[in-house]
Amino acid sequence: MTRRAVVPLTLLLLLLPTAGRSQNPAAPSRPAPDPAAQSAIFSSKVEAVRVDVLVTDNNQTVRGLGPADFDILDNGVPQQVDLVSFDEIPLNVILALDMSDSVAGDRLNQLRTAGGAILGALHKSDQAALVTFSEVVRREAPLSTNVESVRAALNQVDASGATALVDGTFAGIMVGESDAGRALLIVFSDGVDTSSWLNGDTVLDAAKRSDVVAYAVAVKSALKPEFLRDLTSFTAGRLFEVDKTANLAAIFLGVLDEFRQRYLVSYTPRGVARDGWHRLEVRVKNRRAAVKARPGYLAGS
């Protein structure tokens, strides 16, 4: 996972588990981010890049790695890893759920159960948000440590209308970016996009510029979920294609579990052009391990 234009100070705050975050789950969520304040942060010339990295050996997560254990190549240029964090940073979990006609009925109940399961598995310092999309994109619940408010919103949603999957995904990314925390976006859809204004490439472009890691669950059909496949690939998430949605809760919980097993690696790019596509290679030194990280990031306009 990458981020451009983040000042080191912000990054340090991110790496502290409870910095700036209420520990009381019943407490109201933090105020909505002040765009002006965000602007002050992101207008900095200092850039740091964050990469979410999953390291496994024989399907077992490898723990205990530090900055010296990682090799990062940015456009082929070796970088100095500044910080590595594991299982310390609170999460921002954004559920972006398809609420089109086809979801009505049992599937909606299964989605509620799955959403409820993941909300129940969050730590006190984690935040959650709910975005839904038919042709209408709604933020049903903003990012908040008060997961009960998100659960209540989830229990009130109805399913009808067309599918603005691309618009809804963009909204999910933006909710993820509205807070400096580590964002996990889970997109569920059982159909193809039929009513978005934005096109898929535009949103994939936004995803390449974002730190948000996107996982997606798509219901199998004759059509390949190409947009979700690309989205999860560019953000180093994972796409689940399921025949049925009866077991959605287990998938959602599995996603959360996998995401918690990731390292957050950061570095300040040196020796590379500022703008354009940056190809990333992440390796673990001196051991045979499978490394999953985003293939690159897009910087500049």
Binding site: Q38, S100, S102, A171, V192, D193, T194, V203, A206, S301
Partner: protein, 485 residues
């Protein structure tokens, strides 16, 4: 094995509050070959007589007994009716011609129908009554010797004769077309017949409907050939007595095609053959060219393309539809032709601009849309022009101008989602994360309950047909029965 020649996809893309629905009708024209010897069942002539009674008594636009009677007929009943009405229409022009052959739409060869001698005589009698010339035309003298006519038929003969005296020579053709227009609009399921006679398999048209919801096929069924019968009837309209039919010169036929093509698009039913045939008759009609363009633009939409790619249809069925790019190219061609005839048509210019953009010709698109922006007067059109122009300016890297266009669209429709998400994305793309979040917050603050009027983008694929119901009513009006007028 038959090969399908037509798909019509009915799209209510982004119809608010309901699934995006599409209905795709697939038509299987006959082979155009010589018919095998197969006698025509007596039932068919009786059905034709019944049909004539329904044509005479149906009040256009009303769900009356006459309409509901015919709505009960099976798919094969309607297919055989198509054959017999075609023969009848030819006999109405020349009762003594002995015509007994039909040529399916799109076929070069005619096929002979094997009526018995008695059936032919009865057909001549029916044709004379339907043409209103039973007692006046020398070719009809003696026709009643071949059997009497009962009350419904004599009433029809009187009405047709009266219409003829007042200058309307196509009473049955026009009223028949309106009856089947209403039947198509009623859209009742037809009963499919398990075993179709050879004669029908050979020459009669066949129609299927594929229902699509939210980009997915939800049903595939046989449907009645009502539009086919209506078109065939109007194909027999001739400008003057004794002349070859030239329906393209007839104002009612022109209005009927404009109205029905628009109505189909308003209901999301895209029968490509309908407009193909309309263009054969009305080659340079800007409205028909415009609707042809909007139809192909709609067929390029993701809803239809996705449904077509994943459709499960019987062996031998194929869709008369191209890829997204092919459909956009066709749309572009029709808009171009329409603008050559009517250069000041703002809506056509707007649509052309959007299609050019979808084809990646952004500079051309921006130019077309700038023209549309300056000329658009109504709110939805101005909104579309701003929104699409924003996208083209963005594609050209003119980000400040793009922002201005999106902001104009947002100002026209403050509850619209699309310009806000476009502004957010544009800001995000240009590194203005604060601006991106601000626009997204505006979007999230929109009222929870919204309808299709809040964001015209959701109705884009229907907007071109907004006047369809009024157009249909206008076509029906001269044919309303007196008590309904």
């Amino acid at each position: 094995m038959w090969r399908l020649g037509l798909v019509s996809c009915l799209v209510t893309v982004a119809a608010f509050g309901s699934a995006a629905d599409a209905r795709c009708q697939i038509r299987a024209p006959g082979s155009g070959m010589r018919l095998p010897i197969e006698p025509v069942a007596e039932m068919r002539i009786a059905r034709l007589e019944h049909w004539l009674g329904s044509v005479d008594s149906h009040n256009p636009g009303y769900e009356d007994r006459a309409l509901l009677d015919v709505a009960e007929w099976t798919a094969d009943d309607l297919r055989s009716l198509w054959i017999d009405v075609d023969v009848l229409a030819q006999l109405m022009r020349k009762p003594k011609s002995g015509a007994a052959s039909v040529r399916p739409e799109g076929q070069r060869l005619s096929s002979t129908v094997n009526y018995s001698s008695e059936q032919r005589k009865r057909l001549v009698l029916l044709a004379c009554a339907a043409a209103g010339i039973l007692d006046t035309d020398v070719q009809c003298y003696g026709a009643t010797r071949n059997g009497g006519i009962d009350e419904p038929l004599s009433r029809l003969a009187a009405h047709a004769a009266s219409a003829r005296r007042s200058g309307e020579r196509h009473y049955v053709l026009r009223r028949g077309a309106l009856l089947h227009t209403d039947l198509a609009i009623l859209d009742r399921d037809v009963v499919a017949t398990p075993s179709t006679p050879t004669v029908l398999r050979s020459i009669a048209p066949q129609a299927f409907t594929m229902d699509v919801s939210d980009g997915r096929q939800v049903d595939f069924r046989q449907s009645g050939v009502h539009w086919e019968i209506a078109r065939m009837l109007l194909d027999n309209v001739a400008p003057r007595e004794e002349q070859k039919p030239e329906p393209g010169l007839d104002p009612m036929v022109r209005d009927w095609y404009r109205a029905t093509a628009a109505w189909m698009q308003l209901r999301g039913s895209h029968d490509t053959h309908h407009l193909d045939h309309a263009r054969e008759l009305l080659r340079n009609d800007p409205d028909i060219l415009f609707l042809s363009g909007t139809q192909h633009e709609t067929l390029a939409d993701a809803t239809i393309q996705a449904a077509m790619r994943s459709a499960v249809v019987p062996n031998g069925v194929s869709f008369n539809m191209g890829s997204e790019r092919d459909e956009l190219r066709q749309a572009d061609g029709f808009f171009k032709r329409a603008l050559e005839i009517k250069p000041d048509a703002v809506e056509t210019r707007l649509r052309q601009g959007r299609v050019q953009g979808e084809l990646g010709r952004h500079a051309e698109a921006a130019s077309s849309l700038e023209q549309a922006t300056h000329a658009a007067t109504s709110s939805p059109m101005a909104y579309y022009a701003d929104l699409f122009l924003g996208a083209e300016r963005e594609a050209l890297g003119r980000f400040d101008l793009a922002r201005t266009s999106y902001e104009s669209a947002a100002a026209l429709y403050p509850r619209a989602q699309s310009p806000l998400i476009a502004l957010s994305q544009l800001a995000r793309r240009t590194g203005d994360r604060a601006g991106a979040l601000r626009s997204m917050e505006q979007l999230f603050a929109l009222p929870r309950v919204r309808d299709e009027h809040d964001d015209p983008w959701w109705m884009y694929y229907l907007y071109q047909a907004r006047g369809a119901d009024a157009l249909i009513d206008a076509v029906r009006k001269p044919f309303l029965l007196k008590e309904a007028q």
